[in-house]
Subunit: 136 residues, 2 copies
């Protein structure tokens, strides 16, 4: 099996444990706050997980959402688990801004012809790590 | 406030209670199995809900995912909560097929030039209702 989410770390690790990893991705230049929560086990669907694991994974998605809201104050949070290309459970947690490159369209739609603002912050990874660590 | 998810029912209702509604949408011709789980209260983000409500909403997302898998046997399930246009919590639960109109791209990306197969089933709403009712 050749699954990139089993073998590579596509960004800066914000948190990791035996069940999952939280990554600030480094390949979405329009979205400096784009995070992924990646389940460690190679599983395709949420309904393939036992309920306790589903809840644990989503608890981390909510934590990342809250950390992004606290750190970047976006206009909206977008959450998605797609996995059509890489059928290994991972959640996209994307802070969206009215003046970003696609808003109000999803980030997978065509980009606005004029582009948009990439909203980041100095030491974003450090600030997100601190926000994640501060949560119960 | 003029929120379409507060005032309209964009499809066939599969389930409803005091907290949420499950809809088989009627405006996605490429995706006859496209469902939405719509929170009743006008709230924007998952992290605006108390944990018990978050869990209740997601439990219904998982139920819809399982019902779609049992009924249509898709190649993948896509889950998303976006709400950039309508900031009222709702989840898209989309059964995806390798030969559908966008696969492996998200349904919000450009359509394949040749289009794709719209995978449905006779009396899909009735079958999904039965699958949802059969779950614990």
């Amino acid at each position: 099996m050749n699954c990139e989410l089993c073998t590579t770390l596509p960004g800066v690790e914000l948190y990791a444990d035996a069940k999952l990893r939280v990554i600030l991705v480094d390949n979405e230049p329009d979205y400096p706050g784009f995070c992924r929560v990646i389940w460690r086990e190679h599983v395709a669907e949420m309904s393939d997980l036992v309920p306790a694991d589903r809840q644990y994974l989503m608890d981390w998605v909510w934590r990342v959402e809250a950390a992004l809201r606290a750190t970047l104050n976006p206009d909206k949070i977008n959450l998605a688990s797609l996995g059509n290309v890489v059928p290994h459970l991972h959640w996209h947690v994307i802070p969206r801004f009215a003046d970003d490159a696609h808003f109000p369209a999803p980030v997978w739609a065509a980009k606005k012809p004029a582009g948009g603002v990439a909203h980041g912050a100095p030491d974003l990874a450090g600030r997100l790590r601190a926000a994640l660590a501060a949560r119960p």
